[in-house]
Symmetry: D2
């Protein structure tokens, strides 16, 4: 698996930012097969609060998934920003993901520009970023995979925070992200309301896959979202499964989300899979 650790200047962040990209361009090929070299289906994959662009690489089987599903995987950095545009600081985390990063990666790599080939996914804070941006940019993302999402952004700390670790935001944290917190649920930061706005406006509807672990404290708000989406008739697939807010759940259900979006992959895991790549990369022109 070819891995690209990238640093480039982002206008939306007004600074150099980092992104990791996996491309399945050196995986083993059956004898006689020719590599197609894309354009590749692409998953924009978001990490959670406190993490960075290495998280999915270090903690999940995403490298294997990239090979199996024959997809590019683009892993940006979210700097605890929930992948939204921040009203005051000038940081545009949503525009970055859906516009600047999509444009940058499509210009740089052989990626498909089709909506149906463009996926967004993430865990926890990245699940929020997935739902928010899939709704806001339904024209860009054909599929979305939101795992273990803190749907109620403002209740983040009080509801599912373990008592024994230091993990609370400063008083101004959510205001910096969303503006007036008293009114945040009247805006598109409210996922269910946002979904209704998309339907009402007749905007493109992204194919949503939403999952949460039985033992995750975020289950109630994911169930509630599921009910709300059913109520307004927003098409989506919701499931729960064994697990809590941890990597075995994230990794396993990312795979399930990919199968939901793309179908079972043709390519089996390689029987002699050693290292992060394959053995049969083309030579010459």
């Amino acid at each position: 698996m070819a891995l690209f650790r990238i640093s480039f200047y982002s206008t939306c962040y007004q600074r150099l930012t980092r992104v990791n990209v996996l491309l399945p361009i050196d995986t083993p090929l059956p004898p006689g097969a020719e590599r197609d070299w894309g354009p590749y289906k692409t998953l924009y994959l978001l990490h959670g609060y406190s993490g960075n662009s290495d998280d999915w690489l270090l903690n999940s089987s995403i490298a294997e998934m990239s090979a199996q599903f024959n997809i590019a995987v683009v892993m940006p950095e979210g700097v605890n920003g929930f992948y939204v545009d921040q009203p005051r600081s000038g940081i545009r985390g949503s525009e970055y993901i859906a516009k600047e990063l999509v444009a940058f990666t499509r210009k740089t790599f052989p990626l498909s520009k089709e909506r149906g080939h463009t996926l967004i996914g993430g865990l926890s804070m990245g699940g929020y970023g997935t739902l928010y941006n899939a709704l806001k940019y339904g024209d860009v993302f054909g599929h979305a995979i939101a795992l273990s999402t803190p749907v109620k952004v403002l209740r983040y700390e009080s509801e599912h925070e373990p008592k024994d670790i230091e993990f609370k935001q400063a008083p101004g944290f959510f205001e910096a992200l969303h503006g007036d917190t008293a009114k945040v649920y009247e805006t598109d930061r409210n996922i269910a309301l946002h979904a209704k706005q998309v339907l009402d406006a007749g905007l493109p509807v992204t194919n949503l896959y939403i999952a949460c672990g039985y033992n995750d404290s975020l289950v109630p708000e994911n169930r509630e979202l599921h009910e709300q989406l059913l109520e307004i008739g927003f098409p989506h697939f919701y499931e729960e499964g064994p697990g809590t807010h941890d990597w075995p759940f994230f990794s396993g259900f990312m795979r399930r989300g990919l199968v939901h979006a793309l179908g079972e992959p043709d390519i089996p895991p390689h029987p002699f899979w050693v290292g992060a790549t394959g053995y049969n990369c083309e030579r010459g022109e």
Copy 2:
């Protein structure tokens, strides 16, 4: 989990080489606990043929193991060299692992210098490197974890090579590694013979854990080694388990090997484990 991607000059390789290091110095702590900051038990962890120092990071749960077992993990690059000293090229892959790298990492990081706290492990080619160096440097390594090892170095290609992928060494490949291939099984490159030499000379005996998957084509030569070690009375633990020559086996049995060497860890996987690190890193002095 603190990750260090390192490039430094190695005398044994006569060039800059790379090594990745995980240190459990920023994992979550129970309330009121103080971090000990080492010196840490250390696992020198070797990748397989065709791989590099990122392999274990990208394809296994080694980051989580580092946190759970509270061990440093040092992942060098083996450049297809089987971690042996090459008689003609001047490349000293064995001295590099057991002497230069051990010295470099102990001088640089807060690592334990005790033999009982120093482990070596690896998969496939790295399993060979593990057994070879554990025997040669029994004074350095207290424990060894050899997974899915091609014990018969010269029969590598003919015996377990899938037919459908390009993965064969050039005619001079094994000669470059071992010298005269006609006599290689009369030297310490023969693991069973090497083990006998260690016992005969009364040298320090490393605690060996050896495992192979039922469906791995390397099972026969691992069983044979097990029989040979039983015969000469070399203490070791051997087991087989479900799986083939792939990462689910490598990752799962590395964990079993660590439990064999160090016992079950006290630290459970963190219930709110997001990202590659914890949340409670000390501040101030």
Copy 3:
């Protein structure tokens, strides 16, 4: 030169952050010489607005300076935050540099804990971070090297901003950094006032080196600072030189700043310096 690209969890940032470290532990030694392996003098080296922890590595001769002056160099990420504690967002960029990062690197690497061996330096935004933190943490940093500093933090945009590039902060940007911008010059964010507070309180005084290029639009505010420091009697060294706000100036005057702080290095540039490292790394224990 040994280079460590590090990712670790920072409490002050509440997330994984990155830092690059250079250690002169594999540089060439004269025949017969023994390496001392530290504890090393350390330069905490800050990048400018829009940059990241790779900036100094990619654009200056810092690797060579690390070898020549036999110092460790620690290059953190400042995420456009001017290396100050932000009153509302919870981001503590100053505490991170002066306490958490200093503690982390001293616990991890063989670094000197002496104030006289601990330097802070930076360019542009990092020059501001250098002056601010050298004054606030005079007990930590014995020397400071501030290059091409935007001393007047609020006048940043209006005064020295080229007209032809997009480089302006959102309206809430400086408020997020400093709090009430109407009163910011009455606080320690005002460098001259801060310096006076240090003198008045009898706190430890860091040895300041300040430089700016003749053709840098920031020259007036650096001269003004120089005058103010003279007036209050704050010991410092100020110089200007040929150049503008670019890397030849930053790289050249970082070297001058190091000579000012540490004296001319004994070690000449190696006559056969190829690659980023030397050739004579110790082996064995």
Copy 4:
């Protein structure tokens, strides 16, 4: 400047290898200008003995050159192999550079496929690789920039080796690289002979730029090569300049070589160049 740190599987090396790529896709643009997004002219840039793919990044101004000349720069790893195909080990360092790497980077990035837009360059061992591959693959490389080249491969050690550092190859080292060392000067490893073979066969002739420092011990063999090329009428440009075998020479004369190949760049160094990138990256599609 966008930097890509890449790991991918190379068939020629039979393992994962690393390569760094600079693309000038985020540099500042004049107001109103549109970015062309390539296809970019490309410099394949080789490091010296003992180095790796980070060398040019850490020790020269190559990032600035990439921006100024608006060229992609591809920096592979040579693992002390002089960028030739090794007859016995199966390592094909020449095919890797001229075929596999060129194909991989052109398939992955928006690079020009024109011979006149494809440059190869390097220092010391990389200067040898430059000359050797520019001659062997004149159909691929339109321009070559060979700096401070050890032209006499076998006399490497004896002629220009400083006495006080450990830097000598094992007896079998050159045989591993070139085969029978007694006959190596009768093969294409002899650069002057190789050049004559190219002329005699009427093969494409790469535009050669060759330079060496006055104080470099390699000056005599570079002068001799210059004389030999004059004698056989192989078109080239040769110059010497102040300096020795060090980075100020390599960096400065790489720039001169680029001007020789491409002409003076239109783009001046940016007057407010902070960080490794520009400030005006496009947004949206």
